[in-house]
């Protein structure tokens, strides 16, 4: 194994060196790393924008931003986090890197399309930047609601066009993954031998492929309205502004499952490895992923109870929303049951996964409040909603992303990070998180609306406290990144299986060679059978650098 050259040393296509060995590569692992750097850049930027928002809100009245700039700050925070971070983060980075390895193959089915997806992602990011410096920052919120988005003077068209391009990147990645899983699996690997991360990517990819075109078309309609003023959403000319909301959420609600499903897949990988015990209810987890993907596509109008749509629609969409709660609950029960009678070794990825379960549960349970029509009317469009979706998207997908980084980092780079700093960072982010969002839940119940530049005096204490939580979180994220990247200065010393994992990525060297497998991999009958690892004895405990 020692003589095997890693994919860092063997560019693909061969013959290119330096920057070109990256920019025109077809290697799924290099493309994944290019996504990682770009996505981290946008993530850090949007985190800092979020900090700016909370700093402005810490004190009543104008603190240091004009209202126009405040409105742009939360719009940019939302657009960047949604379209440039959470939607692509797990599939584009860890999906690209590990999906082919987990199914025992050497690349995705369409490597060139994969590279094109990356270029579309980068192009979307560039257009988003351009939109900032042409006619003023967009100020509509990431939801681009009409008629405001059509009538405002800022550069909404370019921002919408950026989201349009990013939609293609997402769709093509989905197409690529579906095809790869169908056509490229190792010959002896049946559907019920797929690792759960791969399963979650499969369910996600279908949503990406089927739902994204809806928002793509909707965003084109906004551009048509801005340039040609056709009247699609104008009631005086037979249009309907509520139609826009239906079309927008028809994608954007399924999109939250595009964001969370791969995160659930990551947690389903990590917990069995560190409990050294088979996942509890493999088939139930697979079925719940598919159920979430299907039912989650039919609940979009629960964002619209106050919009003026019919009471019948409220009834149907609310009932369907409670249906989606059940498969999510099944997953949480399965993860916790996996810990029962395990041999649990605490490590940073496991710690982050446990934080995920806690924070995601808070997000899911507060979602029940929002799904119920009567209570929803009170908390809709308040800080309660903001806190709820940050619990699912940041406490959920964000923490799954952190957990995935710590879990697969040694495999991707061949180097281990410092455990102690990783724990400190995780505690800072989680503690800051609670300090940040619990006051926001209370503010929401008291009636503080979202997207408010200023607020009534009774909301001052909550906003003041939330600002401190934000500072802790930003410090924790900073420490986490520094700790991970500091490991790159060390030697590559990580063995193929530092954690005692049994999915196929732990059978190849860290980092893997260009074609992933030196010889055809042995496909286990069941992807989470730890009996060999247990029989080999406890071995050396995973240690930080």
């Amino acid at each position: 194994m020692e003589s095997v050259k890693s994919f860092y040393e063997t560019p693909s296509p061969a013959g290119f060196t330096g920057i070109w060995s990256w920019l025109i590569t077809f290697d799924h692992k290099r493309i994944a790393l290019m996504y990682l750097y770009a996505i981290l850049f946008w993530f850090i930027l949007a985190v800092l924008l979020g900090g700016v928002i909370r700093l402005e809100l810490m004190f009543e009245g104008k603190t240091f931003l004009r209202p126009e700039l405040y409105n742009s700050a939360f719009t940019l925070h939302g657009v960047i986090m949604i379209f440039l971070f959470i939607i692509p983060a797990l599939p584009a980075v860890f999906g690209n890197f590990f999906l082919p390895i987990q199914i025992g193959t050497d690349d995705v089915y369409f490597p060139k399309l994969n590279l094109l997806s990356w270029y579309l992602y980068m192009a979307g990011g560039v257009v988003a930047v351009v939109s900032l410096f042409s006619d003023g920052f967009p100020d509509t919120g990431w939801t681009f609601y009409v008629p405001f988005s059509i009538s405002t003077n800022t550069n909404v068209s370019t921002a919408v066009f950026a989201a349009f391009i990013l939609g293609f990147s997402s769709m093509l990645t989905g197409l690529n993954f579906i095809t790869t899983i169908h056509k490229m699996r190792a010959k002896t690997m049946g559907w019920l031998q797929l690792p759960l991360f791969t399963w979650s990517l499969y369910a996600t990819a279908w949503v990406q492929l089927l739902a994204t075109p809806v928002v793509t078309i909707t965003l084109v309609l906004v551009m048509i309205e801005r340039y040609f003023n056709v009247g699609l959403f104008d009631p005086s000319r037979g249009g309907d502004p509520i139609l826009y909301q239906h079309l927008f959420w028809m994608y954007s609600h399924p999109a939250v499952y595009i964001m969370i499903l791969p995160g659930m897949g990551v947690i389903s990988e990590i917990i069995p490895v560190f409990a050294r015990k088979s996942i509890f209810g493999y088939k139930a987890i697979v079925a719940s992923s598919l159920a979430i993907a299907i039912a989650g596509s039919l609940v979009w109008a629960h964002h619209m109870y106050t919009s003026g749509m019919s009471d019948t629609a409220v009834f149907v969409f609310s009932l369907l929303t409670f249906v989606v709660a059940i498969p999510s609950a099944i997953k949480v029960f399965s993860w916790v049951a996996t810990l029962y009678k395990g041999a649990i070794e605490m490590t940073p990825p496991l710690f982050l996964s446990l934080c995920f379960i806690y924070l995601f549960s808070v997000g899911g349970l507060t979602g029940l409040v929002l799904g119920a029509p009567g209570p929803n009317i009170h908390v809709h469009d308040t800080h309660f909603v903001v806190a709820h979706f940050h619990c699912t998207m940041f406490g959920g997908t964000g923490f799954a992303f952190f957990a995935a980084l710590h879990y697969w980092w040694p495999k991707m780079f061949g180097r281990m990070y410092d455990f102690k700093k990783a724990y400190i960072a995780a505690v800072l982010v989680t503690g800051g998180f609670m300090f940040h969002y619990v006051p926001m839940f209370i503010l929401g119940l008291q009636g503080m609306p979202r997207r408010y530049f200023d607020y009534l005096p009774q909301y001052a204490p909550g906003n003041f406290f939330a600002g401190f939580g934000a500072l802790f979180m930003i410090a924790g994220i900073g420490l986490m990144m520094v700790n991970l990247f500091a490991s790159l200065a060390r030697q590559r010393t990580v063995p193929p299986d530092p954690w005692g994992g049994v999915t196929l990525e732990w059978t190849v060297p860290s980092p893997p060679p260009l074609h992933n497998f030196e010889k055809d991999p042995d496909i286990p009958d069941y992807p989470y059978d730890f009996s060999k690892i247990v029989a080999a004895g406890s071995g050396s405990r995973p240690k930080g650098a």
Binding site: A284, F322, V323, L339, Q446
Partner: protein
Amino acid sequence: MTDIINPVALVDRSLYFIIGFSFVFLFAITLVMIYFVIRYRRSRHPVPADIRGNWMLETAWIFIPAIIALAMFISGWQAYTGLRNVPEGALEVAVIAQSFSWIFIYPSGKETENELQVPVNTPVKLNITSSDVIHSLFIPAFRVKVDAVKGLDTYAWFLPEVKGEYFFQCTEFCGVGHADMTGVVRVVSREAFDEWVEEDDGW
């Protein structure tokens, strides 16, 4: 007026039910999780059991949450119907939202801006529309919120039972002045209202 059920009570009952259950569930799942992590740590419990599932347990945790979710839905729906079914004899006030203020028009023709005056113990129905972009009228004390959309008529109703001042806000982002679109609901006695609504204040 005592035979009218104030929907505030229904909404709050549903809120307490769902949030109360959520707290119980969250504590239970978190405590079990922490207990397992400590009890079955590798130094104390080095040989794991090989348990891949248990169909009885898995069936139970599909059906029990399903029943609880259904109960939550029903309580939420009851609260919602309370908010939607306007009792007879309500005072009707027309509301027009504009960037960035609220206009209220009373049956007598009287108009006010950012200030809604209503008599105590009388149901009030607000007929809402917008003259430009979408706004949303939110009166937290009465658990009332509904969007104001140009070209669309929406409504909300509430029953003010205690005299006093209650604030309202705009909750659909509408531009630079969004956070300034606040105002006050003044609940006054019937006599004071009748006198006020007839007086000509030069509008």
